[in-house]
Amino acid sequence: MKMVKSKNMLMYLVKRVLIMVVMIFFVLVATFFLTNLMEVNPVLNKMSSDPRVPWEIYLEERERIGVDKPIFERFLIYMTNFFQGNWGRSYIVADGVPVTTLIAQIFPPTIELVLIPIILIPILSVKLGIASAKHRNKWQDSIIRGVIMLGVCVPIFFLATLIQFFASNILNVYTYGVIDFETSSANSINIDYINRLTGFRLIDAFLFNDQALLQDSLLHILLPSIASIVVSLASITRQTRASMLDVMRMDYVRTARAKGVAEKDVINKHALRNALIPTSNEIVGLVASLLIGSLFTEMIFNYKGMGWYLFAAIQGGDYVVIMGLIIVDSIIILSGTLVADVLYTVIDPRIVY
């Protein structure tokens, strides 16, 4: 019996991965035409700093990067190069750096940025959801739901700006605008990030025993993490509360209570384990949505991760960077849904595909 199930599971996985590959191909095509039909002129954007550039040089530059070719020819060139592993070179955001290298450089900072939220949000929100379900329709429940509601409704860019203002102008901890360790702390003037081995600043700091770097990276991560935690608490908390309320009405919970099991054990062992099944789905979705990088937090805190570069690329018209980043984003999103579905069967053996 178990054998049959795992075989089905394997078939299901293969099918899903194949669908995913096809979908990513379509995303690639759609993104190519979307970005290349944008009304942005990258060459002009790059040269606008110097108005004395002659027209011939402008045309030459256009020819050099190949923007003057017809769109279908560009599409063919891009596709052939894409599948050979050459995703193009960045034109504006990082001058001349290959897109794959750029993504390899900027993905680790984004992962570091969401490290604290990914660990804290599930813990916090499941606890809040349990508390809210336990004290249903009492003042604790109202307070939790009110705070969650505020978190849903507050725009993250507004919250991040307020946090920045609070830390810089009221607490006087950080300097204004960019949180810059070099200017806010005197003993780190000679900090420069040379020991680049993994690309993760935190891991490198541990590997090379560089405490200044560790402190610097943690300080950069702190404020954006607070903002994204407050904003993304809601969905998991609501899901936990709803499924806890569903489960608490079940017969086996009543049986456990009638048997005389302590209330703590009823909630943590009997109710919570069943209530967490739909919540796990939400958690995986949250991780995927955090990993693609938030445009808003990274822009406001000037944190150079995926979101910041994506925004800069859209503004400047750096087509290949936009395409590369969107492909990576959609791979993350799609594999997130895939992992969520597979995890569902692992957690809940009743579900069979």
Partner: protein, 357 residues
């Protein structure tokens, strides 16, 4: 025999005398006459007799009245469920924003042209100033008066939120009903397209789309609505799939109703409730998303709106009021719609109703 006759006759006589007595008693007072004419008329007597004799007979008028009473009762129950304190706060906030939108010309200090046109605004003050009597909440970029700009911005926000979600839900209803009703290949194709659109990072694609077409408000509205359609069509599809199994759909099919009529008369009216439940929450989310797009600098600068105001205030931390006031107003608007949407969901959702019992 004689005794029995005597008894009957005496009973009739006594009854006649009693009747005479009652009639005379009634006629002695005009109010009593009116009362008797009102209640002991022919109609009522016939109805009473029918009620006593005909088994299972119900008066049509009376049952209609009963039905109306029950209806008002359930309406009252619905309102009692709906009008919780939080929902009331939400309704209050929505009305506040709508009030600002409607009476903007009276509330705002400066006319619309002055807060959107750079050439006119520069006559009235300097950019980025602290609050002063001339500008109660200070000025933002291009010397726009922040107070008037926020008041005028309520119009943009309200119309954007409602129009986007109306567009998205109409699209979602059509797509979801067709895909749920026909099933099979149509359903599979539509659901693939929906999955495909969910594979993108939505915000980025909306921005790229608006960059591609043009940056005016209508384009942003349509693109935003278009990307909200998949969610609504999924919702509608699930609801249609549940409704399709009902007996009355079978009955409509057997009596020869066409596909279109079944879809948009029978199924539509019975399956639409999840869309209505999501409507106000969707408006809140649309306002939030629109503010986000405008904050990134991809909004329509020819209309005053709060996201653009926050974008103007970005980087001017010492002039925090240029960020604070528009942000608070976005919070108020979104909070109003979300609270009202939540209250509506709690009042309408049968699953939650069963849970609260």
């Amino acid at each position: 025999m004689v005794g029995m006759l005597f008894g009957i006759v005496s009973f009739v006589v006594v009854a006649f005398l009693l009747l005479l007595f009652v009639i005379s008693w009634v006629q002695s007072d005009p109010q009593r006459v009116q009362f008797v004419r009102l209640y002991f008329n022919k109609e009522n007597i016939i109805r009473a007799v029918k009620f006593l004799i005909v088994p299972g007979w119900r008066d049509q008028k009376f049952s209609q009245k009963e039905y109306e009473i029950e209806k008002t009762k359930s309406k009252r129950k619905f309102f009692r469920r709906l009008l919780k304190p939080l929902t009331l706060i939400g309704i209050g906030l929505i009305f506040y924003i709508i009030f600002l939108a409607i009476y903007a010309p009276w509330i705002a200090i400066y006319p619309l042209e002055v807060v959107t046109n750079v050439a006119q605004a520069i006559d009235y003050g300097l950019p980025y100033t602290l609050p002063s009597p001339l500008h109660p909440w200070g000025t933002t970029r291009f010397a726009y008066d922040l107070y008037s700009r926020i008041i005028w911005g309520a119009r943009t926000i309200i119309s954007f939120g409602f129009l986007t979600i109306i567009f998205a839900s109409v699209g979602g209803i059509i797509v979801g009903t067709i895909s749920g009703y026909y099933g099979g290949k149509v359903d599979a194709i539509i659901m693939r397209i929906v999955d495909f659109s969910l594979a993108f990072p939505t915000l980025v694609v909306i921005i790229i789309f608006t960059e591609m077409i043009s940056r005016d408000l209508i384009t942003i509205l349509l693109v935003f609505g278009m990307f909200a359609i998949p969610g609504y069509s999924r919702l509608m599809r699930a609801s249609v799939l549940a409704t399709k199994q009902r007996l009355y759909i079978e009955a409509a099919k057997t009596s020869g109703a066409g596909n279109f009529k079944i879809m948009f008369k029978h199924i539509f009216s019975n399956a639409i409730s999840p869309i209505i439940i999501r409507f106000f929450g969707g408006v809140g989310a649309a306002i939030l998303g629109f503010a986000g797009i405008a904050f990134l600098g991809f909004g329509d600068a020819s209309f005053p709106d709060w996201g653009t105001d926050i974008n103007y205030g970005r980087g001017h931390i010492s002039m925090i009021h240029t960020t604070f006031f528009p942000g608070i107003f976005i919070l108020i608007a979104v909070l109003g719609f979300m609270l009202f949407g939540d209250g509506l969901r709690d009042a309408l959702d049968p699953r939650l109703k069963a849970m609260s019992k």
